[in-house]
């Protein structure tokens, strides 16, 4: 029932927004209430998984520890992005950067984007997952073109073509996997069905299928070399939407890859997927690290940081052992940490109307609270102790030092580059004199309450992981490790 509610609530919000959304206040209320209800429904599903290890609406939907973890993150990032979006959209409307119609469309598209992510997570069927992820592309392409300027259109077009081609390869891989489940004699094949017959699948064929899946969903996750859409998209899309892309959609694509990995590993053995994870993870971290070092645009810097962290997650799974735990823990911290960073950046972007680092000065004067939180976000996302990402990276590298000492050492070196790159930019943005003509002081509480809440969550989970999160993490690791 909760799964149905999770999917129906945003659909109702979409209909109401379309019917009554011409008034800004009503539109905001509909979407905020919807996000709260989605959080409650999602929270209930997570709680049920904690109690009974799985929650399903047979045969169409099924949630287990790993998907519950990702669902929890998605509803959390969803509510924070929605509440923060209220302030963001109002400010852009006030600056006449968008019309009320654009605002209405953006709210509707954000809910479609969220409901398709929920569907992708809770579905038991690989084709529905593919369709849902494709829907996220179709909705986000309009959101990327939010300001409707030529450069936004260009970024949106690039996103559409690259993601569509990538996802078509994902579909090809999915069909190849499904062709191996033919013996089941079913026309609604579930993930668990494929796993039950995985041992009898053709290993050579699965290698091809798995490669296509990695290319397909890897494009959505945005790891190198399928990352090229990411910096432009993150630079041009409204930042609450980018928070969703980076903090939620990345995990959904990661879930798709992991689900296929579990099936492939039974047939092919772990070495094949492990080597692919190590390869893509390594090139993602090294390329992103070197670009962050020289980056002049803070939104693009955060985009490359997302690529770097996606690479670290892949490396963790590729290293195996404690690295798997590290990768999943990293997914949690990155998801919330990066959403936090992007939402703060939206405050900066609205105030300075620029994404160029050199044009943003004196953040501590112009936006005092955002400025302080920006320093915290920087320390958190670059993995400084005592914050969460330090520990998740520590576990990933612990896994890496066991068997892949050279790769691990190079990656650590690259993280130093990342830190220095971020450090230079943040110092220049925060600790410099404020330029003349830029308004000083925070705009309103709405822009700070959601990010403040997220900051609090980040501090708490850095030092204390709630028992239910630990349990879900352990069960997820167990699922991956047993098959590996």
């Amino acid at each position: 029932m909760a799964i149905i509610l999770l999917l129906v609530i945003p659909i109702i919000a979409i209909i109401l927004s379309a019917l009554f959304g011409h008034k800004k206040e009503i539109l905001e209320k509909i979407n905020c209430v919807s996000s709260v209800l989605e959080l409650l429904a999602g929270g209930y599903i997570v709680e049920q998984v904690v109690v009974s290890h799985s929650y399903s609406l047979f045969p169409y939907f099924s949630v287990e520890a790993l998907s519950a973890l990702i669902l929890g993150l998605t509803v959390l990032v969803g509510i924070i992005a929605t509440f923060h979006g209220v302030e963001y959209f109002e400010l852009e409307l006030g600056k006449k950067m968008i019309s009320e119609k654009t605002m209405q469309h953006s709210y509707i598209l954000m809910r479609v984007f969220l409901v398709s992510m929920y569907a992708a997570i809770v579905t038991a069927n690989p084709i529905i997952m593919w369709i849902s992820i494709e829907v996220t592309s179709l909705t986000s392409v309009f959101l990327i073109n939010f300001f409707n300027r030529p450069e936004d259109l260009e970024a949106a077009w690039k996103f559409l073509i690259i993601n569509s081609v990538g996802l078509l390869f994902g579909l090809l891989g999915t069909l190849l996997f499904l062709s191996q489940g033919e013996g089941l004699g079913r026309i609604f094949i579930q993930w668990t069905d494929l796993m039950s017959v995985a041992h009898s699948m053709s290993p050579t064929l699965l290698k091809f299928a798995y490669l296509f899946v990695i290319i397909g969903y890897g494009t959505k996750m945005g790891f190198v070399p399928m990352h090229t859409w990411k910096p432009d998209t993150y630079n041009k899309a409204p930042l609450p939407v980018v928070a969703l892309l980076s903090g939620a959609l990345l995990n959904v694509a990661f879930l798709a890859i992991l689900r296929f990995t579990l099936i492939a590993n039974i047939s092919i053995g772990k070495a094949f997927s492990q080597n692919l994870f190590l390869f893509f993870g390594f090139i993602s971290v090294t390329l992103a690290g070197s670009i962050i070092y020289t980056q002049k645009n803070y939104k693009r810097m955060l985009a490359y940081s997302t690529i770097e962290h996606a690479g670290l997650m892949l490396l963790g799974i590729g290293f195996g052992g404690i690295g798997i735990f590290g990768a999943l823990l990293h997914m949690i911290y990155h998801s919330l940490g990066k959403a936090f960073f992007f939402l703060l950046s939206s405050n900066v972007a609205v105030r300075y109307s620029s994404s160029i680092i050199a044009e943003v000065k004196g953040l501590l004067k112009t936006l005092p609270v955002t400025g302080v939180l920006y320093i915290f976000a920087f320390l958190f996302i670059t993995g400084m102790p005592p914050f969460g990402i330090f520990f998740s990276e520590f576990y990933i590298f612990l896994g890496g030092f066991a068997h892949h000492i050279i790769i691990t050492s190079i990656v650590i070196l690259m993280l130093i580059f990342v830190f220095v790159g971020f450090f230079r930019s943040i110092i220049s943005m925060v600790f410099t004199p404020a330029p003349e003509g830029v308004e000083q002081g925070e705009t309103s509480m709405w822009g700070l309450v959601p990010v403040g809440a997220l900051a609090l969550i980040l501090v708490i989970i850095s030092f204390y992981l709630p028992p239910f999160v630990t349990q879900l993490l352990k069960e997820s690791v167990q699922t991956i490790t047993n098959i590996r």
């Binding site: 529905i128 300027r149 970024a155 026309i187 064929l205």
Partner: protein, 218 residues
């Protein structure tokens, strides 16, 4: 009966292949759309013959929806776009025709290489169709890369999708009809969304030529 089915399969696969080659060499946008109609027709006939052979009502419905989306709706949208913009001559390719044809030939040779044998052995069809399927996917991908026109890129993506659908048909992957219809609706929305974007590209840049989209580099 078996011979007829094989001949029909070969005919449809050949039609799909020829349409992709045509897409690579034509200069007019309207001919490009015609090539896409031919290709989709091959796919629809292939799916329809399967539906009749299996006596599956569900598959017949899927075929009918596919016919409407791919042969009626999508081409009409594209033709309207071309008429509205008065841009019947498509943007050029990055490579000239001889080089393009050489690469197509290379793809054809590669499609018969040993490296793809495990993938090809799975398909319960004659070797010629296997080669057509693999090269069809690669040639469609090359079409997206090589063409400068936004409309050509859309048709490239749709051609890639058609060849993947054909691949699925020959693999014998059967899903719940509702899911197959879901996939088709997804395709339909993709076509609508991409057409909207092509219109916006024309409005902003006065052309379908995506090589003029260079604002991000500034």
């Amino acid at each position: 009966m078996i011979n007829t089915v094989f001949n029909l399969q070969l005919l449809c696969a050949s039609l799909i292949m020829l349409s992709i080659i045509l897409m690579h060499i034509v200069k007019k946008n309207s001919t490009l759309v015609t090539a896409y109609i031919l290709q989709s027709l091959g796919l629809v006939v292939l799916l329809g013959s399967g539906a009749i052979q299996e006596k599956s009502f569900g598959l017949l419905v899927v075929t009918a929806i596919m016919f409407v989306i791919k042969i009626i709706v999508a081409p009409s949208l594209f033709i309207r776009l071309i008429k509205k913009s008065h841009l019947n001559l498509s943007a050029s390719t990055y490579l000239n025709i001889p080089l393009t044809l050489s690469i197509l030939l290379g793809i054809l040779v590669f499609s018969q290489s040993d490296i793809l044998t495990p993938l090809l052995t799975l398909l319960p069809v004659i070797p010629q169709i296997k080669t057509i399927l693999i090269s069809g996917i690669l040639m469609s991908l090359f079409l997206i890369i090589n063409r400068k026109g936004a409309l050509s890129q859309i048709i490239g993506v749709l051609s890639l999708e058609n060849t993947i659908f054909v691949f699925g048909i020959f693999l014998g992957v059967r899903q719940l009809s509702a899911l197959e219809i879901g996939l088709l609706f997804d395709v339909f929305f993709w076509i609508v969304v991409s057409s909207v974007f092509v219109t916006m590209i024309y409005r902003n840049f006065g052309s379908f030529d995506i090589s003029k989209l260079n604002q991000l580099k500034k």
